[in-house]
């Protein structure tokens, strides 16, 4: 990493805001107060020095008002630093607010051109990428409608589609990913991953430790305008939490209200856990627009000892019960399950077809249970994806993700991902008589 050249160098940057107690913007008021507008000085950033190297994904973590967004705005050249300088090498795109600059009276098509040229794209380039932008936003049929008739979801998708299709070298992302429905958030994160794989540089601002852990390789922590920590996500997040606690903030509250818990791996017990501690039951996803023959009605996760704790111990068994409802007799149905860790890595995936467990014809309601004899995992929170479809590659009847998860806590001091069965055998062959005696 270190041999890669820095693409963003922040050199002793400070930013001072003036908080006017009363704002005089008219000549008369200025004359009356004779130029003495009362204000307080407030340093949003103080002597920040940091760098982002090529291909890195760097997080800026901090609570509200820590200066992280100000720093991002300075990098994007929206705010000018009061002192110091920032050197940026490469084409930079800032996603600070999706769809800012859209004009409601113009069509989606016109707005794509306008927005993309605001972001610095040449007309010819926009022509080339136009179809990709429209496809990503999934707005093929509405692209010539005026944007004022768009739903907020369509609006956001279009904004994101324009921004990511600019193909910048450096992408600055503010907490825009917090908007949109879960599918869209997923798509955003996937896109960010793609950017990472392509070797682009990303600076990501968030106050959500989980999201930062999921995406970033290196994290800077800001606190009251100062850089207080820098390092890999784990260490940085610890420092962040310590600062938050020092401030007396209720950490759990912030995590819960950050609007991102759908994507992030929330470590909190779900509401209702206290009452039915052994069963986590949630209503199924709303039915797909096309009348699906088979629908997932609910998913229940069961494990022993759940009466006393909301997590598993390593190597404990786990049962996932999938309730279904078939509106008509359906043959050739496949139920599948996938387990992902918080970084989005697939830990395990299987379905009734790969396991050679044909279900035959199903009709009415019923339940398919995936019984894991044991879960040989160490610490972590794991997301489940449940799917029902015809054959392995056939049409999907129903799909459910981001709703079911389980957590494993390792009481021992072993570290890593997998609880490998281990026994330690010590044989002393010589020189230990005294020890034995």
């Amino acid at each position: 990493m270190s041999q890669l050249s820095p693409v963003i160098e922040v050199d002793q940057v400070s930013k001072r805001f003036r908080l006017y107690r009363e704002k005089y913007t008219s000549l008369k008021e200025r004359a009356i107060h004779f130029g003495h507008t009362p204000y307080e000085e407030f340093w949003a950033l103080r002597d920040i020095a940091m760098e982002v190297r090529e291909g890195e994904t760097v997080g800026l973590l901090g609570h509200n008002g820590s200066g992280k967004s100000t720093l991002l705005n300075c990098m994007a050249d929206i705010l000018k630093p009061t002192s110091g300088r920032i050197v940026v090498r490469g084409q930079l795109a800032a996603m600070l607010e999706l769809g800012s600059g859209f004009h409601p009276e113009l069509s989606g098509r016109d707005n794509i051109y306008l927005n993309a040229s605001l972001l610095g794209m040449a007309r010819r380039e926009i022509d080339k990428r136009f179809d990709a932008i429209v496809a990503f936003a999934e707005l093929e049929h509405f692209i010539d409608n005026q944007v004022k008739y768009y739903s907020s979801g369509m609006y956001t998708r279009l904004g994101f589609a324009v921004a990511v299709n600019m193909e910048p070298d450096i992408l600055l992302v503010d907490e825009v990913l917090a908007v949109g429905d879960e599918n869209f958030q997923r798509k955003c994160i996937d896109r960010v991953r793609l950017f990472q794989d392509e070797g682009r540089t990303i600076v990501f601002v968030s106050h959500s430790p989980d999201l930062v852990r999921q995406i970033c390789k290196r994290v800077y922590v800001l606190h009251q305008g100062n850089l207080v920590a820098e390092g890999p996500p784990g260490e940085a997040i610890r420092a962040y939490r310590e600062h938050l606690q020092a401030m007396g903030e209720d950490l759990s509250e912030e995590t819960a209200s950050d609007g991102l818990s759908g994507v992030s791996a929330s470590t909190e017990p779900r509401p209702g856990d206290q009452d039915v501690a052994d069963v986590v039951s949630l209503p199924g996803v709303e039915p797909a627009p096309t009348p699906a023959a088979v629908r997932i009605t609910d998913v229940r996760i069961e494990h022993p000892g759940a009466g006393s704790r909301p997590y598993l111990l390593p190597n404990e068994p786990l049962t996932v019960r999938v309730g279904y409802e078939a509106t008509e007799p359906v043959d050739d149905v496949v139920f599948g399950i996938a387990v992902h860790d918080v970084r989005g890595e697939l830990v395990f995936g299987a379905n009734t077809e790969t396991l050679e467990m044909p279900l035959g014809v199903i009709d009415g309601t019923g339940q398919v249970a995936f019984c894991f004899e044991r879960i040989p995992l160490l610490d972590g929170s794991y997301d489940l994806i449940i799917g029902v479809h015809r054959h392995a590659d056939g049409p999907v009847y129903d799909w459910r993700e981001n709703q079911d998860r389980f957590e494993v806590m390792n009481p021992a001091r072993t570290v890593g991902l997998v609880a490998l069965p281990l026994q330690i055998d010590v044989r002393r062959t010589s020189g230990d008589e005294r020890a034995a005696g």
């Binding site: 090498r89 972001l119 496949v334 697939l346």
Partner: protein
Amino acid sequence: MLSGREPAPAAGGPGATASSLPERGGRAEPRSHKTPPMRVITPDASVWRRTLDIWLYRELVAGLVRKELKVKYKNSVLGFMWSMLNPAMYLGVYYFVFQIVLGSGIPLFAIYLLCGLLVWNMFQTAVSSATTAVVGNASIVKKVPFPREILALASVGAALVFLFLQGVVLVISLIAFHVAPAVTYLPLVALALVAIVVLAAALGVFLSAVNVYLRDVQHLIELVMVAWFWANPIVYPYQLIATRLSQHHLLWIYFLNPVTPVVLTFQRALYAKVSPISTVHGHTNVVHILPTYGPEWYLALLLGVIVVSATLFIGALAVFGRLEGNFAEEL
């Protein structure tokens, strides 16, 4: 090659076999490396860099102008016709009032008026809409990085496009009233356009930045424009003022107004009557309207205006750069 969580079962969700799972590790080819543009963000940016930035974003000017035009006449049946109906109305009313009812000393007064009025209207619209350009686009200014001068320049550009549209009316009326333009002076019209555009851009960029801090400016400028209008020989003939001022050797004062040479050029080239014979109520006499000098005089004046305007423009960029740093917080 999206993440392993790509929610398509066919591609590798729960139903996929191990071999068909997407590989997250599969890195894309390193992207080709051309020398990336380098950008240094400091408290102040030089005028040279500002100019360069504007040049890099020149397509945005066109894009914003297009937007302005589209938005202005969206959902109206006549659309761009409206911008032409305005001067056509002027032409009709003034022809009726001054030619038929009152009887003016200036022959074809409506056309004389239109020659000066169109270019003045363009200047006035450009400056006053540019003044509110930054404040009016606060949502963009706060969220998207781009040279903000562009907003003011786009206002000037839009006004220029309207001038061309309204120019169609002028051309039609020239043909209808059998007025032949002065061919030797026609190239000067292009130069006059350059002069007025640079001047409007200079004022627009300057005022758009000042208006962020002092919102009085946008109201003040409306008043200033009313007075400034009468400092130009648009409604009255140039010679009326010139003869009186030159008696006191004060004619130079009149040319402190940089718009005057532009207006005069338009009138000289298109109206093209320096001292026509006028017949009012049976009396025939010669009216002195325009200066009697040759094209060189106009050329020199216009070049002077361009030099002054360009200097003002550079100054405006410097001021804009100084004030721009706090736009996002002031808006």
